[in-house]
């Protein structure tokens, strides 16, 4: 029986590993659809950002209440996963509570600590469900939050609740078994929360209890493995991607817009400052029409978005009823990547499916509404920059389609002819000094 359990466990672990690996490779190749960009500078600042913003949750605390609730789940996730290490060892070697004999009273302390965290996670998840579904906080119900994103969020919270209940039930039944078969069920001492559950299990016979304890154990570990696979399809992927994204986030002043060296070379040659650049072998687009025109780090950012909507709730355009939502920009970028990735997987047309990020996912009306105020960039707890994507899309419209709004085309013309965005004579530029 024990050997069968071990074999089953190793098989489960292997299967989960296989699926997770498939998804990791798919996500990596989706991100690889983006344009190459070397981000190898200022490593210390990048590590600092990762430690402060991702690991340390610094930007979450701009909104204290959700920050504290989120912290409970985050710390719970980090620490309770240490227990998963024991689960894996027990599963592979057929042991029960492998670390208990080695750690002694420290084990009791650790288990108690985990229980406190588990209860913390439970409280936070319930609070989040209430915020989403009963209080209906506006940012969770705005237009891009269609059925799937809302379900996704509720599923994650529900799965976490069930996993935590499984841990507590397992510990509760284990404590009863410790009194009945002490040679196998090593003493954990009285655990703060689950010991209160023992009264529920006292009347059960030993074999039922053994099954219950095993069921919860299997449920928890399969739950965690299944959850990990699910996460790769979900907005919840931020639990890993946030670390990468904060590392690769833009370090320049927020007001800085990325330069286009191709244009610099051409402009220099037009002004006679440099010889004409050699025509590139594969002339890329100016700006971005689709995901492969964006840099890979913009695509990584889209996988880091957990759809919290803090960006959109601070966006002046969105607040005043315009179509633009920075969160939707990130969600659309990710949806486009997943669509293209799925198509490639099935040997389909991939990027050449006749669809484009600009037009089929994001409209001109949306990008034209942006004031480049950086409120979204400032608000993002994981340093995503929706503005970079918006500007790349605008560049495509302006330079490849000459499709900017008419008023902007006039503004361009004024700058070209009068060297100012308005139509004034350049010779009048200094007239302000004549009046007093």
């Amino acid at each position: 029986m024990a050997a069968l359990q071990q074999a089953l466990f190793i098989l489960t672990l292997g299967l989960a590993g296989f699926f997770i690996r498939q998804r990791v490779l798919r996500i990596r190749s989706n991100i690889g659809l983006g344009k190459e960009k070397k981000i190898t500078d200022r490593k210390n600042e990048r590590i600092k950002n990762m430690l402060l913003v991702a690991f340390g949750q610094k930007k979450m605390f701009k909104r204290p209440l959700p920050a504290v609730l989120h912290l409970l789940i985050y710390v719970g996730f980090l620490v309770i996963n240490l227990e998963v290490l024991e689960f894996v060892i027990d599963g592979v070697f057929g042991t029960h509570r492998f670390f208990a004999p080695y750690l002694g009273s420290l084990y009791h302390l650790a288990m108690n600590f985990f229980e406190f965290l588990a209860v913390g996670v439970l409280i936070a998840c319930f609070a989040f469900l209430i915020r989403r579904n009963i209080l209906r906080i506006h940012r969770f119900w705005s237009s891009e939050m269609t059925a799937w994103p809302r379900l996704d969020a509720n599923l994650i919270l529900s799965i976490e609740i069930i996993l935590m209940i499984a841990i507590l039930t397992m510990n509760g039944s284990d404590q009863v078994l410790q009194t009945r078969i002490p040679e196998h069920y090593l003493s954990t001492g009285t655990l703060f929360f689950s010991s209160h559950l023992t009264s529920l299990f006292q009347h059960l016979n030993t074999s039922t209890l053994v099954i219950l304890e095993r069921f919860c154990w299997w449920f928890h570990i399969i739950g965690i493995l299944g959850f990990t696979i699910y996460v790769t399809y979900s907005k919840h992927l931020h639990i890993f991607m946030a670390f990468l994204n904060t590392y690769y986030a833009k370090l320049e002043a927020k007001g800085h817009i990325n330069n286009m060296p191709v244009v610099t070379a051409e402009v220099k040659s037009m002004l006679g400052l440099a010889p004409a650049p050699a025509a590139p072998a594969e002339p890329g687009r100016f700006g971005a029409k689709d995901i492969n025109d964006l840099s890979w780090n913009n695509l990584l950012a889209a996988y880091s978005c957990t759809e919290c909507g803090r960006c959109t709730s601070e966006c002046p355009a969105n607040l005043t009823g315009k179509k633009l939502s920075p969160r939707k920009i990130m969600m659309d970028t990710r949806d486009r990547m997943e669509d293209v990735g799925r198509s490639i997987e099935k040997a389909g047309p991939g990027l050449s499916d006749g669809k484009f990020l600009l037009g089929d996912y994001i409209s001109k009306e949306e990008i034209n509404a942006c004031t480049s105020c950086n409120a979204c960039v400032e608000a993002c707890p994981v340093m995503i920059n929706p503005l970079e994507i918006i500007l790349e899309l605008r560049r495509y419209v302006a330079m490849e389609e000459s499709g900017s709004p008419a008023a902007w085309n006039s503004m361009y013309q004024n700058i070209e002819t009068s060297f100012a965005p308005w139509k004034f004579s350049p010779s009048d530029r200094f007239n302000w000094a004549k009046q007093d």
């Binding site: 007001g255 402009v267 308005w422 009048d428």
Partner: protein, 259 residues
């Protein structure tokens, strides 16, 4: 008013300590021109050795870049850099946060590296150095002023305190809007929105912001950007409050108090 051009100084064999970059709004927009003249008055009063480019100045290219026309931006940037480098300019002060941001953050990688400061910081330095002597008119004492953060000073360049310190020097009662500093609400003009009608929506951004500013009960809304000036002034007019509430640039508020 004494506003020499760099060419005039150069002809005398002199160099300015600082170039005052006036910007297109400061040169052509009637309301912004008053700010330009107020700032020059301060520069004269503090005996700052400055110069302007006059008709040699040209749009930095900011609105073109933000609207997506990178070619036009770089054409403007390159020719401006040729002029600035030709004169050996080291330090630039400007009353426009958009010019400030572009000159400071975007010109260096195109070959134009200068020390660029915005006039909010410049005024704060003059006050701290004791070079600006405010007369005892005290017209602001106890009066409420609110400051509207410009996105291109604030979030874009992390300048939040300098403009506030300038206002505090006026002895005014500085009241903050709920959305201020890092969460300050845009006036609606950035990203080249100044040069087109807003997209369809429920409300104009400047109305939303003007309502918030008026909600503080301040008699003066201080700004540090010519576009914020236009947007906030229009917003206040829309609410028919222009008789009671004025929108003023930091430079004007200081200039009014120096004799």
């Amino acid at each position: 008013m004494n506003a020499p051009t760099v060419a005039e100084l150069k002809a005398k064999g002199e160099d300015p300590e600082v170039l005052f970059w006036v910007g297109c709004a400061g040169s052509f927009d009637d309301r912004a021109k008053r700010v330009t003249r107020a700032f020059v008055k301060i520069l004269n009063a503090t005996q700052t050795k400055f110069a302007v480019l006059g008709t040699e100045e040209s749009c930095t290219g900011d609105p073109a870049r933000r609207a997506g026309n990178e070619f036009l931006f770089q054409m403007q940037a390159m020719s401006n850099i040729q002029v600035l480098n030709g004169y050996g300019i080291k330090k630039i002060v400007t009353t426009c946060p958009h010019c400030f941001n572009t000159l400071k953050n975007e010109y260096p990688e195109l070959g134009g590296a200068y020390e660029v400061i915005h006039h909010a910081t410049f005024l704060q330095q003059l006050i701290n150095e004791g070079k600006i002597k405010l007369n005892g008119g005290g017209s602001f004492k106890g009066k409420k002023i609110t400051y509207h953060d410009s996105c291109y000073l604030g979030r874009a360049n992390n300048i939040y305190e300098a403009p506030r310190e300038v206002l505090q020097a006026l002895d005014a009662d500085l009241v903050e809007m709920k959305r201020c500093r890092t969460t300050g609400l845009c006036c609606g003009a950035g990203g080249a929105q100044m040069f087109k009608e807003p997209e369809k929506g429920k409300k104009d951004i400047n109305i939303e912001r003007a309502e918030e500013a008026l909600g503080t009960g301040a008699a003066t809304i201080a700004v540090a950007c010519p576009f914020c000036m236009t947007m906030m002034t229009d917003g206040v007019k829309n609410k028919e409050k222009e008789a009671e509430v004025s929108v003023k640039d930091l430079a004007e508020l200081i200039a009014e108090r120096i004799s």
